[in-house]
């Protein structure tokens, strides 16, 4: 028997914020984060009829879609250029000041440091702090749970060094 699927709207309401935060930690602007988040849920909505709850958790399924969408975004738009803007704190063309004002920015500085990490470290941090278990992080990143833990802790230390360098 197939595991029961919750209504998609429940998933949407439950995970929208977490998916957005995951994406936002990796891209330079809130506008990009919204675009990617929208694409994630559009794709998920379209594919939900084919989602099999017995094989994966809704969280892992959605974050897989989010991860792929983010990778696609970087491939399409050139991660290097966006990262450069992030690091140099340059405003991104088209950033909506009103939108920025609405965004909760209390921890933006920390997320900027996350965005500077190497891709896999950034991914490990973002997935883990978006609420996924190490098992789910490992599954998404095609590695074991233990490897995901090690990667995460290396990423955490690298993040600490990054923060230290800026504050020193």
């Amino acid at each position: 028997m197939l595991a029961e699927r919750p209504p998609f709207e429940d998933l949407y309401r439950q995970f929208l914020g977490r998916i957005y935060a995951y994406v936002r930690a990796q891209v330079a602007s809130s506008a990009d984060a919204e675009d990617i988040t929208a694409q994630v849920f559009m794709n998920a909505y379209q594919a939900y009829g084919r989602f099999e709850a017995r094989n994966t958790t809704p969280a892992a399924w959605l974050f897989r879609i989010a991860r792929n969408a983010t990778l696609d975004h970087f491939r399409a738009h050139g991660r290097r250029e966006r990262l450069r803007r992030t690091i140099e704190h340059e405003p991104v063309a088209g950033e909506d000041p009103a939108g920025m004002a609405e965004e909760r920015i209390q921890y933006r500085a920390l997320l900027v440091h996350v965005a500077r990490l190497p891709e896999r470290q950034r991914d490990a941090i973002s997935l883990r702090h978006s609420g996924l278990s190490f098992e789910e992080v490992g599954a998404l990143m095609s590695c074991s749970e233990d490897a995901a833990k090690m990667l995460y802790h290396r990423a955490l230390k690298a993040l600490r060094e990054s923060v230290r360098e800026e504050t020193s």
Binding site: L2, P7, F8, E9, Y12, R13, L16, G17, R18, Y20, A21, Y22, R24, A25, S30, A33, E34, T37, A38, Q39, F41, M42, N43, Y45, Q46, A47, Y48, G49, R50, F51, E52, N55, T56, R64, N68, D72, H73, R75, A76, H77, G99, E102, E103, R104, Q106, Y107, R108, L110, L111, V114, I125, S126, H129, S130, S142, L156, K157, L159, R160, V163
Partner: protein
Amino acid sequence: MKEDEDLELAALQRQLDDAFETTRPRASFEDELWLKMQSRRPFWARLRDVLTGLVDGVREAPAVPATAVAVLLVVAISIGVIRLSGLGPGGGGGGTSLATREGGDSQFNGQPGPFGRLPAPALQAGVVPVDGQTAPKASSAPGLGSAAIYFGPAKLEWAGQLSVQVTSAPVFRYVEPSMASADQFATSLGASPQAAQREGPGILGSYAGDGFTLSVRASTQAPSGEPFYVLILSTPPSTKGTTAMEIANAYLTAHSLVPAWPKVVAFVQSGDVTRVLYLRQFSVPSLGNAYVIDGLGARYGLEVDIKGGAVQSLAGPLPLNLDSADYPVITAEEAVRSALASSQAGPGTITPTPTVRLTTAELVYALAWAGDHSFYEPAFLFSGTFTYNGTTYVKRILVPAVVPSQRSS
């Protein structure tokens, strides 16, 4: 020293937790996106009403009440391309029958038809947002209008007319495609496999090409769904044409993705995205073309999204070879009786049980999943509406058209 380091890392983890917890989109984003998503799916519910009875000919769609999502225009273009070979995308209705068209239940003298006894297609509640304990919720999104699909129990009455002029109809079968088939399809589009992303459930392959990504999915049992592909363009292609249909057709033609099956083309405008819909049909001899419906009873097919004068994404059935065989079908009277007697175990219940007058019925095709192969089978889709607490609900009943003696369920 080690303890200090651990404390520092723990503090950093808390900051990260807070950072991710407090990073949220602007306040209106959630509802805006939900509305946009609703406009991509439940438009079928409204579009169905627009298209009801429209099999041949051309008809302009009636205006939809002021909504954020407007069905601009529905143009029916029956393109009678009927073929069963796998040349080009899709397979179609008509074509070579494996059975002699004699009609009636006696066609096979009680023996199973060429495909054996068939599983019955059925509607499935799917992703319709409903509350399992109380009355189903109608979406608050203005783009939906005031209609929602109701799958719960109802007292049914028949108030329409149904005339079935045929005694048999073709059933179409496909064999579940392999990963190699998906690879072949991707290669034809110039895409290469992304091996690491193939392990997902139901995924036949994920691919990347020049300026696009492609995902190919296998059939699904519940709700029944055929193999399909989703192509998302990251780089807007240079396109020819000025109208959405011209742009969509140019792209499909350039990539050999024009559906070979009979279709009706429709358009839906949602914000700055125009969706061109190639609604799939099968050809039924002596009757005409019948729409393919999904588990919600909605017509579907290939969808092409156009934004800024360029194709943004495509999603549609994976091109497959189809075999066909004629099966005897029930009469109109039997179909009505079955509809009125059908069990209606679905999520969402309205109390007291509503009375629904079914006013329309049409022959459609619905997918019946059967493992390593599946069938598009003829069925009668009955529909009616009722109002509860000021909300209009649509009730649909699907009755398999193939005679019971040729069905396994």
